[in-house]
Structures are given as structure tokens and as C-alpha cells.
């Protein structure tokens, strides 16, 4: 009688060390020195690179937004308004242009951007931004200085 069950219980785990290392070394192909070819060195730097990648994907959005804000602010300042006023006026009039498009216009379509700035300057007077043109609310003493 041949006993086959115990042999079937034996498991052949692993055996894919080469391919696991290949996956890591594929990601380190553009590194410098031993970091690109030697697995035990490469794995540390590959993990770091992947962490950087995850972090940078979030930071890129914030960096782009900051850059766009800077550009729009510069454009507004050149034309004699402020970005904060422009935001308020655009909100009031219902112009739904986002930062990406505004900075694109400031660079490539400057006359359209100037039209928006002119609209800001006119509308902010209507809305009462930066001035206290209407009679001050009760309880506020201005002595005519505001």
C-alpha cells in the first residue's frame, strides 16, 4: 500500500525570490551606483522613492495652487486691484473661473484679464469694498474719518 496523503501535505512555498527582487530593481533602474543593482541596498532607496512619490502627489497640487495665486496676484496688482477684491466681485457677478484659468489668462490672454480687473474696480465701488461710502451702521463712531 502506497501512502500518498503526507506527501501531498508538503507545501512548496516561495521560490520567487528572483522575481520579487526584479520588481524592486525595475524601480531603481535610474538610481546612481550600487543603489540600482544591489537588492539589499536598492530596497531602502526604492521605498524612500515611493514614499516621496506619494507625498509629492499631494504637494504638487498645493504648489501649483500657490504659484497660480502668485501669478494672479501679480496681474491684479499691476492693473491696480487686488486678488481678494477680484474674488469677491467674481463671486457676486457669478463668474466661475478657477485659479488655473485665471493665471492662464493673465499670461496668455492679458486683455481679457484686464477686462476682469476693470470689472473688479467698478463693481467693488458698487459693492462697497474698501470704502465706507454708505452711512456707517449705528453704534460705530467714525467722526467723518472713514
Amino acid at each position: 500500500m502506497v501512502i500518498t496523503s503526507p506527501t501531498l501535505f508538503a507545501r512548496a512555498r516561495g521560490g520567487d525570490r528572483y522575481w520579487k527582487r526584479r520588481r524592486i530593481l525595475a524601480l531603481s533602474s535610474h538610481f546612481f551606483g550600487r543603489k540600482q543593482n544591489c537588492y539589499s541596498i536598492a530596497i531602502k532607496y526604492v521605498h524612500r522613492a515611493l514614499r516621496y512619490g506619494v507625498r509629492a502627489r499631494k504637494l504638487k497640487k498645493a504648489d501649483d495652487r500657490e504659484l497660480w495665486d502668485t501669478r494672479i496676484n501679480a496681474g491684479c496688482f499691476e492693473l491696480g486691484t487686488k486678488y481678494s477684491d477680484m474674488k469677491a466681485v467674481m463671486n457676486d457677478t457669478g463668474i466661475a473661473l478657477d485659479r488655473k484659468i485665471l493665471q492662464n489668462m493673465a499670461v496668455w490672454e492679458p486683455r481679457s484679464f484686464r477686462a476682469l480687473a476693470s470689472l473688479t474696480k467698478v463693481k467693488q465701488a458698487e459693492m462697497g469694498l474698501n470704502t465706507l461710502g454708505s452711512p456707517p451702521p449705528s453704534g460705530v463712531v467714525t467722526r467723518g474719518m472713514l
Binding site: A26, S29, E78, L79, V107, W108, E109, P110, R111, S112
Partner: protein, 182 residues
């Protein structure tokens, strides 16, 4: 897969069309297509079925494409497409059915000759600006172009806030206005 790995192995490119194909007229970019197969081997069965059933119609629908058939013994079946800008595409059709090969042929028919790479941006324009890009003199008064220097008015500091004199003058006007009305 990091982007550097992608670029190292497969490259990246911007969106482009050969000679702005499609902006005006559209010209089919496929120049010739070669069907290589074995007359007897089982792996070429799908290819042989395609040639018997669908190839004539393909040739009739695309009169601008040259179709070559290469029966080669002991070779697996494949498709080789060549395009007007010199690009090539090779697709192995080993053990594929005639429906799959038909889909691959349709894929090759609609490609441009550029290699398949990651697109860095999904838009491209040769003319990003209609009004002209910003220059430092765009929003300035044109009179500075013909001004003769030195000039008092243009050399003084830019005033961004009202001076005290101006404010007093404005206030006096309001005062006068109020007085006149009362």
C-alpha cells in the same frame, strides 16, 4: 511603477498628429499591412480564417492600404503595419481567433505612426495665445513709446495712495457741497 521607470523603458511624449492630420482633412496613416502566417500550423488558424472571411472586405474598405500576405512555414502568425511617417507596429497573432485578429487589424488601421508612449499632457496647441502673450509694456500707456527723456512726469514715483492734500481737497468739496445744499 514610477514615472522614471516608465520613461526609462517606454518613454514619454506630447500629443501630436503627423502634419496636423485631422485639423484640416483626415488622411489614413496606415500605408501597408503584412499578414504573416503558416499554412498548416494550428497557431495560424485564426489568421487563416481571417484571410478567408474578412480580408477581402478590409482591402475593399481601405483602398489606400497595400495588403501583403506572407505564408511562411514553421513561423507563428503576426501582423506588421507600416505608416506614412515611417513608424511600424508589430503584433503577434499566435493562437488568436479571427475575431481577435479583426480587432487588431482595426486597431492598426486607426493608429498614427507614432510609437505608443505615455502622454505628458492631453492637450497641445501651437498657438497658446490669441491676444498675444503678456509683455511688461502691455498694460502701460502707449505714450511712453514716443516720449522724449528726461521727462518730469514719467520720472516721478508711482502714487498708489491718495496724498493728504488730495484728501483735504476732496473733503473741502464735500463740505462745500453740503453747505450749498443747506
Amino acid at each position: 511603477m514610477t514615472s522614471q521607470t516608465w520613461n526609462r523603458f517606454w518613454g514619454s511624449t506630447f500629443v501630436k498628429a503627423p502634419l496636423q492630420n485631422g485639423v484640416g482633412r483626415y488622411v489614413q496613416q496606415l500605408q501597408r499591412i503584412t499578414f504573416k502566417f503558416c499554412k498548416t500550423h494550428g497557431g495560424s488558424r485564426g489568421m487563416r480564417d481571417f484571410i478567408e472571411k474578412d480580408l477581402i472586405e478590409f482591402a475593399r474598405m481601405n483602398p489606400g492600404v497595400v495588403v501583403y500576405l506572407k505564408p511562411r512555414r514553421h513561423r507563428s502568425s503576426c501582423l506588421k503595419a507600416e505608416y506614412l511617417n515611417g513608424g511600424e507596429e508589430y503584433i503577434s497573432a499566435h493562437k488568436q481567433s479571427s475575431e481577435e485578429i479583426k480587432k487588431w487589424v482595426e486597431y492598426l488601421r486607426t493608429q498614427s505612426g507614432y510609437s505608443v508612449e505615455r502622454l505628458r499632457k492631453y492637450q497641445h496647441t501651437d498657438r497658446p495665445s490669441i491676444q498675444g502673450p503678456w509683455t511688461p509694456w502691455m498694460h502701460r500707456d502707449q505714450c511712453i513709446n514716443i516720449a522724449e527723456y528726461p521727462q518730469e512726469e514719467l520720472s516721478c514715483a508711482v502714487k498708489r495712495e491718495k496724498t493728504a492734500t488730495q484728501e483735504l481737497l476732496e473733503k473741502s468739496k464735500i463740505f462745500v457741497g453740503v453747505n450749498n445744499s443747506s
